[in-house]
């Protein structure tokens, strides 16, 4: 066994221990520990990525030397390694971008708790990405939920407590359904390791036994994860949770936490149930339909919103809809498009959240559109970054959103029955996206005479500005040279199953 194969497990454990150690540290030290961890994990993921790319296949790492079917396994291919790598980068940027805000909004003696939660969240995300054991996945789903609740609630005001409570209830409902699904699957197949379940599920499917329980299991797990990732119509918790929490939390929740669950769903589709079985279950059509509805209703809600943070939050509902639409197409191409959109949306949405905070800060902290007028002149970099994010969301070429749109459309064109609805809704949703994002961009670039608010220059916000630049570069990079990443995703998906 190569040395590199230890890295995934080590990263998860590092993060867990980081969380534990941080609970005894002061805020600042906890932050250093967290940044150190993030950098190390990024590096380890990169090594894993290079290793898997070189070997061209996934490897299985047995935890604690207990062989299957008793022991716990980790399985890492290039897709998993790349996801871990990407998640770390986005998390790092989101934390840096929201650092100043965090100091303002969170009481000083609680800052260390924030980093404890972040470390645990990262651990659970990595575990969701890497694990090959369904029950371990469930455990980390719960850790993820609790950490996310904490992240929402750590900024103490009435709205965040309400939002966290809502999030908790919806999320636990989701986990409950997932757990039920896992129990039933265990009952049906007698296994918890993904690869073993898949063999058994294929056998069950071939023999035609337990048709209905299998269907119910698939439905339970899909719906559970759909609730947790805020697929329409289960998105009611989302706008408050993303809208009122501190900005790093909002960015991380929208671009990473929900994506972790989606990644788990993709994993379940490919590695637990098996693609054919899942495809034949027709649940996939339900996901497709709700994805389409989400694309429209998310945008419609965003148009009606008068609060910029909540508007961005509602736009997430639409974007999650895109991802489910891709999954629902039931083709390899659709899945690849979805995975690419996970990346592209993560890069764009966190950029938008971070840029929006810069704009509201120079508008007296108000998030109403009327106060944001001319904001882009008062904080130039935030204005540019918000524009880039908006253009990417609308799907203008040269930005990452366009490539997602292109991939979705290409996948749709190859799909006979789902082609027309997918393309039409893509079109409608593009125009709807343009309505609210371009409206905001015009608003922030409308000059105002002698504004009451002060403007900031790059000198006063070096770190924030640099984060924005990194985000912009990331977006343009995904938009201009997407081919290697798309290739990687396609290779990763073949190795995945």
């Amino acid at each position: 066994m190569d040395f590199v194969q230890n890295f995934p497990a080590v990263s998860i454990l590092l993060c867990l221990f980081g969380g534990i150690i941080s609970s005894g540290l002061r805020g600042k030290t906890a932050r250093y520990v967290n940044r150190g961890l993030l950098l190390v994990v990024t590096f380890l993921s990169l090594c894993t990525l290079c290793y898997t790319l070189e070997s061209g296949e996934a490897f299985v790492y047995v935890m604690g030397k207990f062989p299957a079917p008793w022991g716990n396994e980790i399985r890492a291919g290039m897709l998993e390694a790349f996801m871990a790598f990407f998640f770390c980068i986005i998390m790092l940027l989101s934390l840096e971008g929201g650092k100043k805000k965090l100091v303002e909004e969170v009481e000083e003696e609680k800052v260390f708790l924030y980093y404890v939660l972040i470390d645990l969240l990262l651990a659970s995300l990595l575990a969701l990405v890497y694990t090959n054991d369904l029950f371990t996945a469930y455990v980390f789903v719960e850790i993820n939920t609790i950490a996310a609740c904490g992240l929402i609630m750590i900024r103490q005001n009435g709205r965040t407590i309400e939002a966290a409570a809502r999030y908790m209830i919806m999320s636990l409902l989701g986990s409950g359904l997932l757990l039920l699904g896992i129990c039933m699957l265990y009952d049906l197949t007698g296994h918890l390791l993904m690869s073993n379940i898949k063999d058994q599920a294929a056998m069950l499917y071939a023999s035609g036994q337990y048709r209905i329980p299998l269907l119910v299991t698939i439905a339970l797990m899909s719906v559970g994860l759909a609730i947790k990732s805020a697929l329409f119509p289960f998105h009611a918790w989302l706008p408050d949770a993303y809208g009122y929490s501190t900005v790093s939390s909002a960015a991380i929740l929208s671009s990473l936490v929900s994506k972790g669950y989606i990644f788990l769903l993709i994993k379940i589709i490919y590695r637990v149930i098996g693609f054919e079985v899942f495809y034949d279950s027709r649940i996939i059509d339900v996901l497709f339909a709700f994805g389409l509805m989400g694309m429209i209703f998310g945008s419609v809600s965003a148009i009606r919103e008068n609060d910029v943070r909540r508007m961005i939050a509602f736009s997430s509902v639409a974007q999650i809809g895109y991802i489910y639409m891709g999954i629902g197409m039931g083709t390899q191409a659709g899945m690849a498009a979805s995975v690419f959109h996970i990346l592209s949306h993560a890069a764009t949405k966190s950029l938008l959240f971070i840029a929006a905070i810069g704009l509201t800060d120079v508008s007296g902290g108000s998030r109403k559109f009327i106060d944001l007028t001319g904001g882009a002149y008062r904080n130039k970099w935030a204005g540019v970054a918000f524009t880039v994010g908006s253009l990417s969301m609308v799907g203008v070429p040269l930005f990452s959103g366009f490539i997602s749109k292109l991939l979705f459309a290409q996948a749709a064109v190859q799909n006979g029955t789902k082609m027309l609805p997918a393309l039409i809704v893509l079109g409608i949703s593009t125009v709807l996206n343009a309505i609210y994002f371009m409206k905001t961009v015009i608003r922030i670039y409308t000059p105002v005479e002698d504004s009451a608010y002060e403007s900031v220059t790059f000198k006063n916000m070096k770190l924030y500005g640099l984060t924005l630049i990194c985000f912009i570069v990331l977006n343009v990079f995904l938009g201009v040279s997407s081919q290697p990443i798309v290739d990687l995703i396609e290779r990763g998906l073949t190795v995945f199953s």
Partner: protein
Amino acid sequence: MYYIALSVLFPILTGVYLLVRKEIKNRKSLLIQTGIFLVITTVLGVLALCLSGGGILTPFNLTDRLPILFKVDEISILFAVMTMVIFLCAGFFSFIYMEHEEKEKRYYGFYLIVFGILLALCFAGNLITFYLFFELLTLSSMPLVLHTGSREAIMAGLKYLFYSLSGAYMALFGVYFIERYGNTLTFSTGGVISSQAAADNTGILLWIAFLMLIGFGVKAGMFPMHAWLPAAHPVAPAPASAVLSAVIVKAGVLGMVRAVYYIFGVSFLRGTWVQTAWMVLTLITVFMGSMLAYREPVLKKRLAYSTVSQVSYILFGFSVMDAGSVTGGLLHVLCHGAIKAGLFLCAGALIYKTGKTRVEEFRGAGKEMPVLMWCYTILSLGLIGIPPTGGFISKWYLAEGALSSGLSGFSWIGPTVLLVSALLTAGYLLPLAINGFLPGADYDYGSLKKKEPPLLMVIPILVLTLLSVVMGLFPEPLIHYLSLIVEKIL
């Protein structure tokens, strides 16, 4: 070949530079800089046209199968030359006109960016490159519409944005499908749809062609997606309206030409319902635009409606797909470009000098500003299609092509509609000239003052007027050149 990249990048980069740099205190230095940038861009553009010689430039690949690709062919030369002439004229005109407007730096910045993007559209060698710059064109020209920042301007700008984005998406629809059914996305004469795919999927491909026509038609102001144009063009400052009305709408025309003649191919579309539908839509637009212009009292809005009508003359020429009519269409691209830019600049000069906006308020303007009003009159005659101006030649070819096309019905309905619309054109353009020169007996000649606009305003208008006349007097070399193009694409 690298001149193509330079001529596209230079104006865009200098435009961005103007946008981001600090406010320039000294107005003169801003103007000198802008002037130099405009001239250099034009020189680079001319070099690109002369020296690239059919070479292909691929700066980068969007994805493996979608390269960004530039190429110079005859159509590019035609559109690029028109773009450069009009941008220079309107640019120098702005130097005086924009004196009293705010945010001049922003205006010139976006003006240069639009210039670069339009050149890129002319040089675009495949559908995805065209689409890319088509989207960017919408985004970068929107600030020109929004310039005054009034509520009306913002609403018009948003309208422009949504119409254009919907249109661009319909065009993108085509990209998705042609990537699947076509051999390549690169523009090639005669089309890129493989005959096998064309035979198997005729129905769906025809729908795609129709959608692309409607989509690109948004920019060209073709019915049923024309409503943004009369709202957006007049609210911009006059030189920007000139550019919008004379050149940017042509981006839509160029898109349709590329889609029909270089992607689907004439042989695929000729005689199908798509051609019929296209002809019907253009004729409706021709008539409706003229009617609306006739009823419109505000000068710049009237000119905008006139654009709706006149651009569909061009499109009608292309939709007939006959050698004569296509020649007429190409010629009218140039004529309408020069004439409409000239008319908008005249309107700008009138507004600049008098502060009035409605047509009936310009009584006696011809006595006060004879040179300007003479230009206006000659340009109007050109748009109506009276010899010896270029408009006559182009409309002659359009009508003749339609008559000889052998399409049942349209061969005579078309010319009739064009003729009626020409009468309406006379009806909405000439009253201003008549009232301007012959204000009537009750006009107070005592208060009359000479107030010819400054030279920098008059010269661009004179140049455009002269061009429209020269095209009418010596059309031979141009027609010869156009017939070569037509031979290739038909």
